[in-house]
């Protein structure tokens, strides 16, 4: 349903993505893992045209276009069918939670207010934020803001939702509520790409895992296969490091 072919992106002379081929099927949850600086976030930002690739082709639904030479109107067509969840939520701070969720419907898709409000309330309910509809982002915790941001991304009924490290800016005790919402979305069959450091989430929820390093996809496999039987040396190293790390934390808390 979404496919990227031969994607190249560099900032200055530094190649951040060096020939990425990436594919997501309908209803699939793909987790993108990898160390910092591996290009995972840039991959999502190129797909959503927040960064302009030097080379590449994007095929999405019935749209297909070169990623480097593309006009505003075409970009907007792609984006109208995508949802995006940022690391830093990026809620509109001059609007309540409800208005944030409605905005894509009323301002961008010219939906009548009443209809949009109905959908927005339904989305807020889905993320467990219906009783905070009239709150401004500043009055919400990070986890709550991210749940509203997810509701905003879902409201426009996108074909795919891209998550850019959705829990990285949160206090550890707040990540759970966001991951729970995402799990629910996955169970409902939402097509999702999740760039994340949450190995547990990837293991439990993802159908497929893509492991990136140095602007390349190093390994790609079904989630179960990926964690049980990683093929590449580099993947094994990475998993060993992050997994012992999280286990150590687990022991600490149980001891304390």
């Amino acid at each position: 349903m979404l496919e990227v072919r031969q994607l190249y992106k560099s900032f200055g002379s530094e190649g951040v993505l060096r020939g990425i081929d990436f594919k997501v099927n309908k209803g699939e949850v793909v987790a993108v893992l990898g160390p910092s600086g591996s290009g995972k976030t840039t991959l999502l930002r190129c797909i959503s045209f927040l960064e302009r690739a030097q080379q590449g082709e994007l095929i999405f639904g019935d749209l297909r276009h070169d990623m480097s030479h593309i006009g505003k109107r075409m970009i907007r067509q792609f984006r109208m069918q995508m949802g995006f969840v940022f690391q830093n939520f990026n809620l509109f701070r001059n609007m309540t939670a409800l208005r944030n969720v409605m905005e894509g419907l009323t301002a961008a898709r010219k939906m009548p207010r009443r209809e949009a409000e109905e959908i927005a309330r339904e989305m807020l309910k889905k993320v467990g934020m219906e009783d905070r509809a009239d709150y401004y982002p500043d009055q919400l915790s990070g986890g709550q803001q991210q749940r509203v941001a997810i509701a905003r991304a879902m409201a426009t009924n996108p074909k795919i939702i891209l998550f850019d490290e959705p829990t990285s800016a949160l206090d550890p005790e707040l990540t759970g509520e966001v991951l729970d919402v995402m799990k629910k979305l996955a169970e409902e069959g939402t097509t999702m790409v999740v760039v994340t450091h949450e190995i547990g989430f990837a293991r439990e929820v993802a159908d497929r895992v893509v492991f990136m390093e140095d602007g390349l996809i190093v390994e790609e496999a079904g989630a179960e296969e990926f964690f049980r039987n990683p093929k590449k040396e580099r993947t094994v190293q990475f998993l060993r490091r992050v997994l012992t790390g999280s286990e150590a934390v687990g022991q600490d808390t149980s001891a304390g």
Binding site: S48, L50, R76, R79, M80, M82, G83, F84, F86, N88, N90, L91, F92, R93, N94, T96, E103, G104, A107, A108, R109, D131, R132, A133, D134, Y135, Y136, P137, D138, Q139, A149, R152, A153, T156
Partner: protein, 235 residues
């Protein structure tokens, strides 16, 4: 203080105050409104990176901030008639003051727009907003409270700068004071009296600024409008 001087000061007060209300304040308000509209355009073509217009805007700001207001006023009132553009004094003053304050306001607005986190712009594009909608619905409502203190500063400066209008035959507060000095030769006392009236006006403006900032949460980092009822209802 002699009785004569006291009488002069007492009888001058209502005259100066009247000139203030009839000329100084309308001149300030009209110039500022004109200056705000122009400033908004100047700022937006810069942040939107509109070719040519951006450069024009920069040159405009460079000129109007870099030359004395009195010179600008003279060019418009005394200079333009020689190329066939004859303006009455009051409109000439509104144009000169408005164009001048626009340069300063444009910089305040531009800086405020840039202070709105870029992440919100990205989010707006991703839910399908176009640039004008992004500006009107997301960026400007947040930029305005940030720019507010600087804009109000410029307003207070403008109020005082309108005294320059006395140089192009407009009988505003300062010119009224001059006329009374011409009749009575009490320059020290009368100019101090004029200063006090300016001070009263600018003090009131400062209060208005404080009131608006507190009431609407403007000019603070906190950009959301205060809505306590919503907060309570939610809990």
């Amino acid at each position: 203080m002699t009785e004569r001087l006291a009488n002069i000061l007492i009888s001058a007060f209502p005259d100066m105050l009247a000139a203030g209300f009839k000329i100084t304040i309308p001149l300030t308000v009209l110039s500022f409104v004109f200056g705000m509209v122009l400033a908004l355009l100047l700022a937006i073509v810069q942040v939107a990176n509109v070719k040519v217009l951006k450069q024009i805007s920069q040159v405009y700001i460079w000129f109007f901030r870099g030359t004395p207001l009195l010179v600008q006023l003279f060019i418009i009132y005394f200079g333009l008639p020689s190329v066939g553009i004859v303006l009455p004094a009051f409109p000439a003053a509104v144009i000169a003051f408005g164009m001048n304050v626009a340069a300063y306001n444009a910089e305040a607005i531009r800086a405020a727009i840039l202070a709105v986190p870029v992440g919100q712009t990205e989010a707006a594009y991703l839910i399908g907003l176009t640039y004008p909608k992004l500006m009107i619905r997301i960026v400007l409502p947040q930029a305005f409270p940030i720019a507010f203190p600087s804009l109000f500063n410029n307003l207070i400066s403008l109020l005082k700068d309108t005294s320059l209008a006395s140089c192009i035959t407009i009988v505003e507060l300062m010119a009224t004071a001059k006329q009374i000095v011409g009749r009575t030769y009490e320059s020290l006392a009368l100019y101090i009296e004029a200063a006090i009236i300016y001070l009263i006006f600018s003090t009131v403006l400062t209060w208005v600024q404080g009131f608006l900032e507190k009431r609407l949460g403007w000019g603070t980092k906190d950009v959301k409008p205060k809505r306590r009822s919503g907060l309570k209802a939610g809990i």
